[in-house]
Amino acid sequence: MTQISLTTPIQLSDWRDQELADLFATLPVGAAPSGHLHGKLFAVHGLTFLPRPLARGLYALLSTPLNPWRGKSFSNDKGSNHLLWLNGPALGHYHISQQTGADGQHSLWLDYNVERNPALLRRIRGEARQLRKDQWLCRMLWQTDRGQTTLLWFTLQGE
């Protein structure tokens, strides 16, 4: 029998894509984030074959300066990603609205299809729901002509 080695209950970097989708489906849209929020990446598409402890190690690396992405900022119906430090250079801007998500329930929708973005980034969509006070679980989707694919998951955490 294989046991899941889970060190803390909500160490989301241990979770698989489908497990996160199940959790996401139980979350409310909740309060809209505002200001600058720290980001943490995990469950990257295509890496789910990795054993959980290995994946956890990899995602821990993605939380070091090796990965320049620091988080996102939210201001009314607009927002952007920030590199190097929390309110560092902005890249990848999005428009924020409330919509029905990929699972048919309400989400905060981050639409990268805005003029300021290079063409490649315009295919990105983000979906966010509140996990707990000051913490949001989000997925990054890739829009193709045939629909959307989840690329990775991340959390946003208030300061």
């Binding site: 029998m1 046991q3 899941i4 909500i10 497990e19 199940d22």
Partner: protein, 486 residues
């Protein structure tokens, strides 16, 4: 993806969880029971065609399946997880260590089947809305379900019972000592391998076969090998994070109401860690007033020629000393036949006894959450119960000329209680007279951690009676359930 929503989720399938689930389902409710351990491979479970069974620790499975987890502050990360299907969970703390078990049926697999009511006034004075009379019928129910009765002197076939033992030392007093009722199938006449390591042939009655199996077709869903890792309060109830070790998956379940019955140790772990992660709030009295029910286990190498104490009922009976009224119980190493070891050692162990002293301690210990580990403080200087037991053991050493071995000042309990106690207000307790957490509506606590004081006797019936009371409260507050439960 549609989230799994449940009306009532019960966490843990021991005396608290199995009783709550059984009573609720009998009254028409739909209940999902989450148990971290597996169904155990006993005759009854096999006959019910439950395929995902795990062996009790015996034979070659002994070393792999005896231990699930050991936790101690000096271990790396504070704990070692040995085997997900292991039977025992040991928590070492210098002031109080705790032993509990894992598997569908909880403590009923490892317990000595001593089914005892506490003193008549046990439930009085803890809450205005509660008294011994409120709970009495729930004791009757569980005692009857477990088929409990005392050994009678006419039970000639029962070997090693203290009351039929003609070779009992004269200093062992049984006159006026209340013998425990035992949840045991006496009529079968099988008296071996039925104690601490489980009872493969179900001679000892256990909760999985007695309470849960009959209800599987009637609205009870038991999810074995599902360990709850986090309880998060939401607008509509609770969101549980569950490790499903059967399918190597993490699951998220939603529940309107949750009955927490993971046993004292694990309920406290779960409540503390959920609070530390911000999933639950409040409970200012969490961790207050825990105790070990005065337990002191001892090994007495009496090495009596011609005896085989390893056979008989799971417990051989209670006694006192002629000049000391401390409550003592003797047990053989029942189950030793199935543990791989040199035959000379086995023969020797069969001639020795385990003694346990117990009594109503003050229950003034505390549990706290340090790092990600439960830390127990249990001030012994206040406890005359422990001092009396140490004196009694010293006395047995001198009366018998054979030393009784025990850990003085390092109590180990198999009967932990408290920490999420019943009481009048949020300031001094965690739950109210319905078993509901004062400041978290919809979350109920139905195991040893809820007990308001040390029962002073083995606590399983008291825990089950409390759980029965909670089930009755839930039923009376829920329009979809109707039948009489007590």
């Amino acid at each position: 993806m549609v989230a799994e929503k449940h009306d009532i989720i019960v966490i843990g399938s021991g005396f608290g969880g199995a009783t709550t689930a059984a009573k609720l389902v009998s009254a028409g409710a739909k209940v999902t029971l989450l148990e971290r351990g597996p169904w155990r491979d006993t005759d009854a479970i096999r006959a019910a065609n439950i395929s995902a069974r795990a062996p009790l620790p015996a034979g070659k499975s002994f070393f792999s399946h005896a231990l699930r987890r050991v936790s101690a502050s000096w271990l790396p990360g504070g704990q070692i997880n040995l085997h997900g299907d292991g039977l025992f969970d040991l928590h070492y703390d210098s002031q109080l260590s705790m032993i509990c078990s894992s598997g569908v049926g909880g403590g009923s697999h490892v317990y000595s089947a001593m089914n005892v009511r506490p003193a008549e006034d046990y439930w009085d004075g803890h809450h205005d809305a509660l008294s011994g009379t409120t709970i009495a019928a729930h004791y009757d129910w569980i005692l009857e379900k477990m088929g409990s009765r005392t050994v009678a002197s006419s039970d000639a076939l029962v070997p090693n019972s203290i009351i039929t033992d003609s070779r009992r030392p004269t200093w062992m007093n049984v006159a006026g000592v209340r013998q425990p009722e035992m949840g045991f199938r006496f009529a079968r006449g099988r008296f071996s391998n039925n104690s601490f390591f489980g009872s493969q042939d179900n001679s000892k009655v256990s909760l999985d076969e007695r309470l849960l199996l009959p209800l599987l077709e009637r609205g009870l869903s038991v999810r074995d090998r599902h360990e709850v890792m986090d309880i998060c309060q939401t607008d509509q109830g609770f969101r549980l994070t569950v490790k499903d070790n059967q399918h190597n998956r993490i699951r998220t379940l939603l529940a309107g109401r949750v009955v927490l019955a993971a046993g004292t140790l694990n309920t406290l772990r779960l409540l503390f860690s959920s609070r530390a992660h911000g999933s639950l709030n409040g409970m200012p009295a969490l961790g207050q007033r825990i105790g070990g029910n005065g337990d002191v286990p001892a090994y007495w190498p009496c090495n009596e020629t011609g005896r085989d104490y390893s056979t008989g009922t799971p417990c051989h009976g209670r006694f006192t000393l002629q000049d000391n009224h401390t409550d003592l119980t003797r047990y053989g190493l029942n189950g030793v036949d199935r543990i791989p070891m040199p035959s000379s050692l086995r023969a020797r162990l069969k001639r020795d006894l385990v003694l346990v002293g117990m009594g109503a301690d003050q229950g003034d210990g505390t549990a706290s959450w340090q790092g990600s580990r439960l830390k127990l403080n249990y001030p012994q200087r206040n406890s005359s119960v422990l001092a009396d037991i140490y004196t009694a053991f010293d006395r047995i050493s001198s009366l018998s000329g054979k030393k009784v071995y025990f850990l003085r000042d390092r109590p180990i309990t198999v009967h932990p209680f408290g920490g999420a106690r019943l009481g009048q207000s949020t300031a001094d307790s965690v739950i109210n007279a319905c078993g509901e957490v004062h400041d978290i509506p919809g979350l109920f606590i139905a195991d040893g951690s809820a007990l308001p004081a040390a029962p002073g006797v083995p606590p399983s019936m008291t825990i089950a009676a409390w759980a029965g009371h909670i089930a009755a409260q839930l039923i009376s507050s829920s329009p979809s359930t109707h039948q009489e439960v007590a």
